[in-house]
């Protein structure tokens, strides 16, 4: 068909694979909740584990793939080279845990199940690990990969960033990714991390 853009082709692909993305997402969420259940049952009153899943929206998936290209532009003459299936986070689960000590415990429990998944941690600007992150294929699909991420308060910041900025205006993703915004974002993450650490130290002191 003439006159179809790369974006048109990718939108069509998105809706073809959407049922499979949903299946991966549901499978991943159920599996993770089940595996984390024994830890959830042993939490103290002040401790929390929150598991949330999401299917990446169509325009957000297109935008993510486009921004992978240098100059954030698809080559219209290589339309067949692009596929949304190359995105690792079409189906994603975020596990938010507090306090920090629970992160390692959750990570170990999930590594037993997702032992062949690839580690791709979220790193800060100084190379420090901000969140555990893995991607791979589940029993729900061998074409659509899923991703899960385990973090503390930093994860809440990413959720706020997503719901306040990207969801209403996906085009603003570029602003947040811009070189000028990297330093303020690094500062927010550093501050949240310092809060996490100090809070955890404080609650370990006898009352």
């Amino acid at each position: 068909m003439e006159g179809r853009t790369v974006e048109d082709k990718l939108r069509e692909e998105y809706f073809e694979i959407l049922p499979e993305i949903r299946a991966v997402c549901e499978h991943l969420e159920a599996e993770i909740k089940y595996r984390v259940l024994p830890i959830s049952h042993s939490l103290d009153r002040f401790e929390r584990i929150i598991v949330r899943s999401r299917v990446k929206e169509c325009e957000s998936a297109l935008d993510a793939l486009r921004r992978r290209q240098e100059g954030a532009t698809f080559d219209p003459e290589r339309a067949e080279a692009y596929t949304l299936r190359s995105l690792k986070d079409l189906a994603g689960v975020r596990i938010l845990a507090f306090p920090r000590a629970r992160l390692g415990e959750i990570d170990a429990a999930l590594r037993n199940v997702f032992d062949n998944w690839t580690e791709d941690p979220v790193l800060g600007d100084n190379g420090e690990k901000l969140a555990f992150k893995y991607w791979g294929f589940s029993a729900a699909s061998n074409e659509i990969s899923g991703e899960y991420q385990i973090s503390m308060l930093t994860g809440l910041f990413w959720e706020v960033e997503h719901s306040a900025i990207y969801k209403p205006s996906p085009q603003l993703r570029g602003v947040v990714r811009s070189p000028k915004m990297r330093e303020p974002i690094a500062n927010v993450l550093k501050a949240l991390s310092a809060f996490d650490e100090e809070f955890e130290l404080s609650i370990q002191q006898p009352l």
Partner: protein
């Protein structure tokens, strides 16, 4: 790359009249008809970027400084968008 180093390169580009396109993730200057991708800016030294900015060889076409040179079709697309 160090955030400070990137901030310095950003200042150099902005000082030379380059603007950042949030949508295309490139620094561009319509008068000079040059565009630098973020990847290129991160990859190259401050000196190299300054030299490329100073290079005033007249050109009616856009010049794109990318790590991976863009195809003719991508160049056309970006030239249309950047104006």
């Amino acid at each position: 790359m160090e955030l400070k180093e990137l901030a310095t390169k950003t200042r150099i580009l902005e000082g030379a009249g380059y603007r950042y396109s949030f949508d295309r993730e490139v620094y561009f200057n319509r008068q000079a008809k040059k565009a630098f991708s973020v990847e290129f800016v991160e990859d190259r030294s401050e000196d190299e970027i300054e030299q490329l900015i100073r290079d005033n060889a007249p050109s009616t076409n856009w010049r794109f400084f990318f790590v991976e040179p863009p195809s003719a079709a991508v160049e056309r697309e970006l030239a249309n968008i950047l104006g």
